[in-house]
Subunit: 127 residues, 6 copies
């Protein structure tokens, strides 16, 4: 099996906060990431597809640009992205949302998001 | 001349917007970074001092933690950091503010901030 | 399947030497890494768990700090770490020892250790 | 399961061009990479083997040096490497050729090639 | 003094060969880089300017795109770039050519080119 | 002014301990780095010279291999390297020792050593 992985970058802000929880519970679970005015990251997104041919690149770039980067880049994920109106924009949820946005058009194998140098999340469709 | 450089990381959000400018001018100058709800970055901060001895490290770490990271990390720079109440939190201004916060206690040579993989700013005190 | 990977760093020294082998065999098998006084590395440890939720992070950090970093960081693995009293501290053995130290408390999927920019070892529990 | 991954670097040039296609088709499919005089990359090659013991390293290094690096490094892949006389030297084909060159002598698990910071290809023998 | 550094990437091929030297001298001086069909690199270019304000970025990007990347990216430097018709495209010469292409329009402080992970060249206008 | 920087890697162990100090003072000043059996690092060494021509590379590589790497790589700096018999092998001292070992044969501009991802030391001959 041979796969192609392509890397994208976007910068966004978010706040980890669940309206279903009390202020104290939000603070306990999300810690510093519950700061009311939010904070942000340079996210690195890697999309892996099971069609490792050069001719898929323009389609892949176009889909990621139109469906992901135009929505997420230079945005506040909580306030600017409809998918997070009722979903906490944790990085695991960002990975799932991006997989949902891409999977009907691509032979998607994996979505990997690096949130900081220390934390990353991997969603594998075939595992 | 021998110098010590120590690297720190913090994640924060910001919005590039000047109240002295019209909406159209803000949009023209700051582009996507003028998005009303902000966006964010993983900032990498490097502090260079002209006292490259091991015994300066605890003092350096304590000063950066108390004066910089406690103020900036996991924050919205515009709304949480008093220094940016009337100053646009561009990365060049972040570098200058950090230099101001540290220079009375350290033989500061250089502040370097990497905002994204593509952009960095360097403030040199001796140049 | 979605996983969370968290990265840790520690610096340690080691000597690759098996008391069961002759000096000549040790030299042949371990080469420069058999140097009597040892050498060292900045190890990068990545722990991957099958519970990619924000609330696992404090537990994960506490377990790695208490069971791994407090034992390995700034140590001579051969002389300071009981697990290597009779086991050569090769990086594959370090990966196995760390997996053993963590697996009763975490839904462990993978331990990855980067020894140098050129060599890394991956232990997968589900493969 | 525990695996060892070792990283190698080589610089080479290539041109993406298929003699079976018209000039217009080559230009459409391969874009800037169809430039007649070629272009080049610093390729990063990672070889993963299912025998993560220190004593495999000299053999692994010798095989990669003799069979891969001596053939590819500082070369024009189209004109200097026989395997690409009739095969377009896309990175997926480079991965397959390298796997072929190594698999009879090594318990090969994976070949990963990073062509640029944005594109990589992974060939897994066991997937 | 505060400076802004912006990073760009381009992939190109080159051959180190001086027509003023004999074949033997070329081989002795340039070694593997004298391979007749050339080889290539992913070059990382950093441009440092003494005007660290956000509003310079569009101009900087436009100048680098029009004057440098359109000329060098996905090219054979020897055969596609007029500046190297009679100048060996060593990385030090690439740095000097790029500085020449940009300096009339920018407050240029430094051009830094990383050719491989091991070699880089820095041209400083004010040193 | 144009300079060439070349990067080298070596792994070594060290202990920060001064025989002129009491055990308590050593512990206070050097902290975890005073651990009796030592610890280690992957050091990254960058040598910058004011003669950025391709033909200096073989000489530079030979000098660094013969005078630095053969002495430091895979060694215990305290016990294997004569220069540290009476000098604490802090990274600033390593930088000074390396500069001393190279400067009679090279137009040395700068020695930069990265000890960990967080700490680096720079010795500039012309500053």
């Amino acid at each position: 099996m041979i796969t192609l992985t392509r890397r994208y970058h976007f910068s966004a802000s978010h706040r980890l906060h669940s309206p279903a929880l009390s202020a104290a519970e939000n603070a306990r679970i999300f810690g510093k990431c519950n700061n009311p005015f939010g904070h942000g990251h340079n996210y690195t997104l890697e999309v892996t597809v099971a069609e490792p041919i050069v001719s898929i690149l323009p389609k892949l770039d176009r889909l990621v640009a139109e469906r992901v980067l135009s929505l997420f880049a230079h945005r506040n994920l909580n306030l600017d992205v409809p998918q997070f109106a009722h979903l906490v924009p944790t990085t695991e949820n960002i990975a799932l949302v991006i997989a949902d946005l891409l999977k009907d058009q691509l032979p998607l194998v994996r979505i990997h998001i690096q949130e900081t140098d220390r934390n990353s999340f991997t969603y594998e469709t075939h595992a």
